[in-house]
Structure formats: structure tokens, C-alpha cells
């Protein structure tokens, strides 16, 4: 603004200034954010929620990050890993973004993380939970504002062992995230003295669960732990209730089981207990303000994905602030993010050495159409980041 007034006064000098520093002057004005998220396909709703959350924070922050106007470059990743590298490179080398934000699908996020590492671009993952991203593949440039697959499942394992549950059967889709979830659960549950009597898997994204329900009925475990999400989760929960198992064998899982699909279950989910780093009915001021604003802006209720998008923006803001608002001072941005304490709607969190949130995990219960918080089952849970050399 100041520069413009100045230019009006002294045109010649201003022209010289612009010519001398065209690129730097441009960069000084704006910070460029690359959103690489799914806007079509199975995860489209998640991609939209993350985008909404991110933009909400920017708006609350006066339309700026680090004191600069924000410019977006948006790519639909279609949750297709086969095109992920290409899409990420488009943002990095064609759009020249300062930060890469994405994505939901773990396979796509892995490809993005490789691009971020190779091109030394800052990246914030607002959902994808693959343990490896902040484990053996961790990098100074890669941050995560969400969770690792290990976190909510490990907390559930601890909680069930503490409850005195002895035998558990598990069911999940046979793909990386499902297997990592079950492994995290098993680790904590068996450490606490429980026993996993049977691990069952079915190919992703099959939804014919009846044979597994029959198997569960004949095994008669004390409880069942599952990882499913979205439409598949809604069908599993409905089938589980229809098979009459819900009243005799309690069902547990990470919160994705009952997130964003309670309407589709039509009451079958009532009373289910799940663990996650976010819940409905949190009493903090921050969460209340966030939810009111979100509902006002987008006419829908926010979910955990919106929170993760919101926090991705908060994390970057913290980094930029530490660097005096200059995205080019990458080391300072990274330092700032590493040491930031993020005042998230889910409750404040910090980042671990491997750049994954150190956060509270809630036990939640389904009441009508909400996942209402019961208690904090794991305080400040940190992913072990096995294999990370940071």
C-alpha cells in the first residue's frame, strides 16, 4: 500500500524499483499455498472439509498468513497415486508454491512427500495417516497436522486392556492404513495383557461382511476392534447390528468408523465407542468459536477433517511468524513450526521431533448424530516414529 502511494509521488523511482526487484517484490506481496486434495471420488467430502478449514483460518487471520496475502493453487489429486508425483510437481515447479498442503489418501501423500523432500519444499499433511510419513520416511520438510494411524488405535488398545477386556477379534480392509491401525491396537492391547484371538481382513473396498460376522459369532470374543471408514464403515456397523452382535459383543474402533456417516447408519451406530483426536461436545472456547464460525461460513457442521485443515493453516502461520513473514527463509519457518504450540479446536498440541502432533486422544460415544466426548483416554500421545532419523 505504502509503495503505491510512494509510486504516485515519484513515478520514475518506483518504476526503477519494480524493474530492479520484480520477482522479489512479487514474492514479498504474497504467499502461495498449493492445495493438493481430492475434490472428486470417494474422498471428495474430506478434501472439501480440509479446504474449508484452511480457508477459514486464513479468513480469521485477515485473509493473510505471516502478514501476507494468500494466493492458492489448487489441484484435484483424485486420490490416484499413479498421478500424484506429476500433480505435486505441477504445484512445486510450475506454480512455485511456498507450501504444499495435502492430502487424504496415504499413497498419494507418500508420493507428495517424495517430491517435497527432493525439491526441498515445505509440506503439511492435513490427513493421510501412514505411519511411515513421520517414521522411516520423515523429513525436515514434511509436517503433519492430523495423526498417525498408530495413534488412535494405540489409545484404544490401552483403554480396552485397562477395562479388563481379554480376548479381541479384529477386522479390517487389507491395505496399509487398516493393517497399521490393527498393529497399533495390538501393540498396546497385548502389552496391557489382552490377547488378539483372530485377525481378519478383506480386500479393499469390499463390503460383504456377513461371513466375518458369522465367524465373530462363533469365536465369541469379549470385544471386536475394526478399522473401516466412510460408506464401508456405515455398512459394517449396520450389518453388525442387524446380525444381533451389537448387544452381545461390543464393537470398538478408531473414530473414522463413525465420522461423517452416522446419518447413513440410521441408528445402528448408537452407543458405539471410538477413539480419535477430535470429538463433538468439547467444551473449550476455541472449539466453540471454530464451530460457530464454520457453520456460519459453510452452512454445515465441521468435522475432524475441517479441524485438520484449519490447523494446517495455523501451523504454517506459526512458522511464517517466526521467519518474519518471509516464506523464503525456510529454515526459520521450519524451526518456528517445530517449536509452535498450536491452539487447535481439538485442544492444544505440539509437534514431535518427527513432525507429527503430540496430542490428546478422546474416547467418544455415538449419541444420536454426534460423536460425544466421554474422556481423554491418552494424554499427549506421541507417535513412536520408528525409523525416523530426525
Amino acid at each position: 500500500m505504502e509503495k503505491k502511494i510512494f509510486a504516485a509521488r515519484n513515478f520514475v523511482l518506483a518504476t526503477a524499483l519494480v524493474v530492479a526487484g520484480l520477482s522479489s517484490a512479487h514474492a514479498e506481496d504474497k504467499v502461495k499455498v498449493g492445495l493438493m486434495l481430492p475434490y472428486t471420488g470417494t474422498y471428495a467430502a474430506l478434501g472439501n472439509a480440509i479446504t474449508n478449514g484452511f480457508k477459514q483460518f486464513v479468513e480469521e487471520n485477515g485473509g493473510k498468513l505471516g502478514g501476507r496475502e494468500v494466493e492458492y493453487a489448487v489441484v484435484d489429486d483424485e486420490s490416484n497415486p499413479a498421478k500424484a508425483t506429476e500433480n505435486a510437481k505441477k504445484l512445486v515447479s510450475r506454480e512455485k508454491v511456498d507450501v504444499l498442503v495435502g492430502t487424504v489418501h496415504s499413497g498419494v501423500a507418500l508420493a507428495m512427500a517424495k517430491v517435497a523432500r527432493d525439491t526441498k519444499t515445505l509440506m503439511i499433511i492435513p490427513n493421510a495417516g501412514a505411519n511411515d510419513l513421520t517414521g522411516p520416511l520423515c523429513s525436515p520438510y514434511v509436517f503433519r497436522s492430523s495423526f498417525s494411524a498408530w495413534q488412535p488405535s494405540y489409545a484404544m488398545g490401552e483403554a480396552l486392556a485397562k477395562k479388563g477386556v481379554k480376548n479381541v477379534a479384529t477386522v479390517t480392509w487389507k491395505y496399509s492404513f487398516g493393517e497399521e491401525s490393527v498393529a497399533g491396537f495390538k501393540e498396546a492391547f497385548e502389552k496391557g495383557g489382552g490377547k488378539v484371538v483372530k485377525d481378519m481382513t478383506l480386500p479393499f473396498p469390499n463390503v460383504e461382511f456377513q461371513p466375518f460376522l458369522t465367524e465373530i459369532a462363533s469365536l465369541k470374543p469379549d470385544a471386536v476392534f475394526v478399522f473401516f471408514a466412510g460408506a464401508g464403515a456405515a455398512k459394517f456397523v449396520s450389518d453388525y447390528a442387524a446380525a444381533g452382535l451389537k448387544s452381545s459383543i461390543p464393537l470398538y474402533g478408531p473414530g473414522f468408523l463413525t465420522d461423517g456417516n452416522l446419518g447413513a447408519m440410521g441408528g445402528a451406530g448408537e452407543g458405539l465407542m471410538t477413539t480419535l483426536h477430535y470429538a463433538d461436545g468439547l467444551t473449550t472456547e476455541k472449539d466453540k468459536a471454530f464451530r460457530t464460525k464454520y457453520a456460519q461460513l459453510y452452512k454445515i457442521q465441521p468435522d475432524v477433517y475441517a479441524v485438520q485443515g484449519y490447523d494446517a493453516a495455523q501451523m504454517y502461520e506459526a512458522g511464517l511468524k517466526a521467519a518474519g513473514g518471509d516464506p523464503a527463509k525456510q529454515e526459520a519457518v521450519i524451526k518456528g513450526m517445530e517449536s509452535a504450540k498450536i491452539d487447535s479446536p481439538r485442544g492444544a498440541f505440539t509437534l514431535s521431533k518427527a513432525h507429527n502432533p503430540v496430542q490428546d486422544i478422546y474416547m467418544r460415544e455415538v449419541k444420536s448424530d454426534q460423536n460425544v466426548v466421554i474422556e481423554v483416554v491418552s494424554k499427549g500421545l506421541e507417535d513412536p516414529a520408528r525409523g525416523c532419523k530426525l
Binding site: Y39, T40, V75, D76, E78, N80, P81, A82, A84, T85, E86, K89, K90, S93, R94, S106, G107, L110, A111, K114, D118, A130, D132, L137, K174, Y175, S176, F177, E179, P203, F204
Partner: protein
């Protein structure tokens, strides 16, 4: 179009593509590199679909097998040797094509389409459901293979310009190789099989052996494309073997016009360009893509390669059929 004009046109196009690295924009160098890789892939499929009459709907399997081979054969922290890992990956794809070919070539028509699809799905699930290549998350190729021969390094694949020209040279070699093959008695026999297999048999040809040869060769060249893809992007995922990729490459062949090697290359360019342009216009770009596919099938059965002929015929008297 006479042969000379066609040759000149091809050389001009080649020269234009070769100028891409002069732009200095690494995004464009990479995207054109990728298109050239897809052009190799499309040509390899055209050998089957366009020249031998075998509609394989599982060609992505050989692409993916070689891509995984290079990622799995390379050591974790250092570069593999290009001159070992390239032939090894391509041979693995060729071997897979040979074995699968023994089974699928006993079928015809729709059954051939479905059985090739089924085998490709098997390969897909091997990588998707087993920890072999990192499961559904895929696997990194951290270091590009080194081209050193006894310490002498003619080029460096981690340099994007070198990589681009390496791919370009490979594509030209594949084109020349296939063009030569198709002039040979073997190639003539394949074209004969396409137009009338029974007649070829009655002439004494063991058509099964010829088809198996073509299928293996196409698998090997598809593998070469997969190898180049993995080296270019440094990341492999089970989705490379998915039936969508098989469908996409078929589409490139159709778009370019079956039975025309240069058409396959043009098809690859047109397909990728469309994807880029549509994705920039709208987030519902797949709707446009689907519309184009339907329109091409309905109104442009000869593909792009048929367009000059159509225009010519239209000018000469409107007898377009």
C-alpha cells in the same frame, strides 16, 4: 499424404519435442518426458491391438511389473547400475507376458479381453495386498540408476535434461525397432493374423507362436515404458497396474488410430494434453474426458490418424464413410 511429406512431418515434430528442454522449465521437461514414456507404452500396445488384432485390456500389468522391478532391485541407499537393472526389469516383464500369454492366447474376442484383464488384476493385487512392494502405499526409488560403465559415466539420469533425452532416444529406438519388425516376415505374419487367422493357419503358420511372440515383445516394451516411468518419478504404486491405466493406454491407441505407430504417439500426446487442459478448466474434468471418449468412439472410429484421410476424401467429393 505421401511418404516423403509424412517423413518430413515426423522429423519436424521430433525436432520440436527435442527443443523442450531449452525452455528450462522443469515442469514441462518432466511432463513431456512422461508423455514420451506413455508413447512407448502406447506403441507397445498398438503392436497387439492395431497390428495383431489382440485387444489386451491388461497391458498395465507389464508396465507396473517392470516399474516395481526397478524399485525392488535397486539398493535402498545407493544407485543401481542402469545396464543391469534395465535389462533385468524388461526381462521380468517379458517373462510375465510370456507366461500369461501361454494362457490368454488360447482365447479369442471378448474372452481375450476379459482374461487379460483378469491376469492384470491378479498382478495388481499381488502388489496391493502383499508387503512385497510396500503394499497399497507403494514404494520409493530413492536413487536413479547410474549409467556408469567401468567408472565412465556417459550421462546422469538424475539430471532432468539427460533423463529427458534418454527417454526421447528410447522412444525413437522403439519406433524404429517396431517399424522394422513390422516390415519383417514376422510382422507381416502378425498383420495376416489380424485380418484372417484361419487363412494364416491354412497357409501353414503356427499362429499361436506368432501371437505369443508378439505378446511377449509387447510386454517387454511395455516394461521398458514402466521402467522409464519409475526412474523418472522415483515412486511406484499398485495403481500403475490398475485397470484404469490399461484403459487409458487403450484409449491413447484408439485416439491415435489403431495400426499406426505414429498415431499411437500422437494419441499419447493428445490424451495427456486433454487431461491437463480439462483439469485446469474444471474439477469435474472427468466428465469432459468421458464425453470425449464417447464422442471419439462414436464419430472418429479411425482415430487421429484417420483425420487427414477424412479431410482429403471430404475435399475430393464428400464420400466420407
Amino acid at each position: 499424404m505421401n511418404a516423403q511429406a509424412s517423413l518430413i512431418l515426423k522429423l519436424v515434430a521430433l525436432a520440436l519435442v527435442a527443443c523442450v528442454p531449452l525452455s528450462g522449465e522443469s515442469f514441462y521437461i518432466e511432463i513431456v518426458g512422461k508423455i514420451l514414456v506413455m508413447a512407448i507404452f502406447a506403441m507397445s500396445l498398438d503392436l497387439l491391438v492395431g497390428f495383431t488384432g489382440l485387444v489386451s485390456f491388461g497391458h498395465a500389468a507389464y508396465f507396473g511389473i517392470a516399474a516395481y522391478a526397478v524399485a525392488l532391485l535397486s539398493p535402498e541407499y545407493e544407485a543401481a547400475n542402469l545396464w543391469l537393472v534395465l535389462p533385468a526389469s524388461v526381462s521380468l516383464s517379458a517373462l510375465a507376458a510370456f507366461v500369461i500369454g501361454l494362457f490368454v492366447l488360447r482365447t479369442k474376442g471378448i474372452y481375450f479381453i476379459m482374461v487379460t484383464l483378469a491376469f492384470a488384476q491378479m498382478a495388481y493385487f499381488i502388489f496391493h495386498d502383499t508387503p512385497l512392494g510396500g503394499g497399497s502405499d507403494g514404494k520409493y526409488l530413492n536413487n536413479k540408476p547410474s549409467a556408469s560403465i567401468f567408472g565412465w559415466e556417459p550421462f546422469d539420469l538424475s539430471n532432468e535434461v539427460h533423463m529427458f533425452y534418454f527417454i526421447l532416444v528410447m522412444m525413437v529406438l522403439v519406433y524404429l525397432f517396431l517399424a522394422r519388425i513390422l516390415q519383417s516376415p514376422f510382422g507381416r505374419a502378425l498383420v495376416g493374423i489380424k485380418s484372417n487367422e484361419h487363412r494364416m493357419q491354412s497357409l501353414g503358420y503356427f499362429t499361436f507362436r506368432y501371437k505369443l511372440g508378439a505378446f511377449t515383445l509387447a510386454g517387454a516394451l511395455g516394461g521398458l515404458a514402466g521402467f522409464l516411468y519409475a526412474v523418472l518419478f522415483g515412486f511406484v504404486t499398485p495403481e500403475l497396474l490398475s485397470w484404469h491405466e490399461s484403459g487409458n493406454v487403450l484409449l491413447m491407441v484408439i485416439l491415435g488410430g489403431m495400426g499406426n505407430l505414429a498415431g499411437a504417439i500422437a494419441g499419447a500426446f493428445a490424451f495427456e494434453a486433454m487431461r491437463e487442459v480439462f483439469a485446469d478448466i474444471t474439477k469435474y474434468w472427468q466428465l469432459l474426458m468421458g464425453g470425449v471418449i464417447v464422442a471419439v468412439v462414436l464419430f472418429l472410429p479411425g482415430g487421429l490418424a484417420g483425420v487427414p484421410g477424412r479431410i482429403k476424401r471430404a475435399l475430393q467429393g464428400g464420400e466420407v464413410k
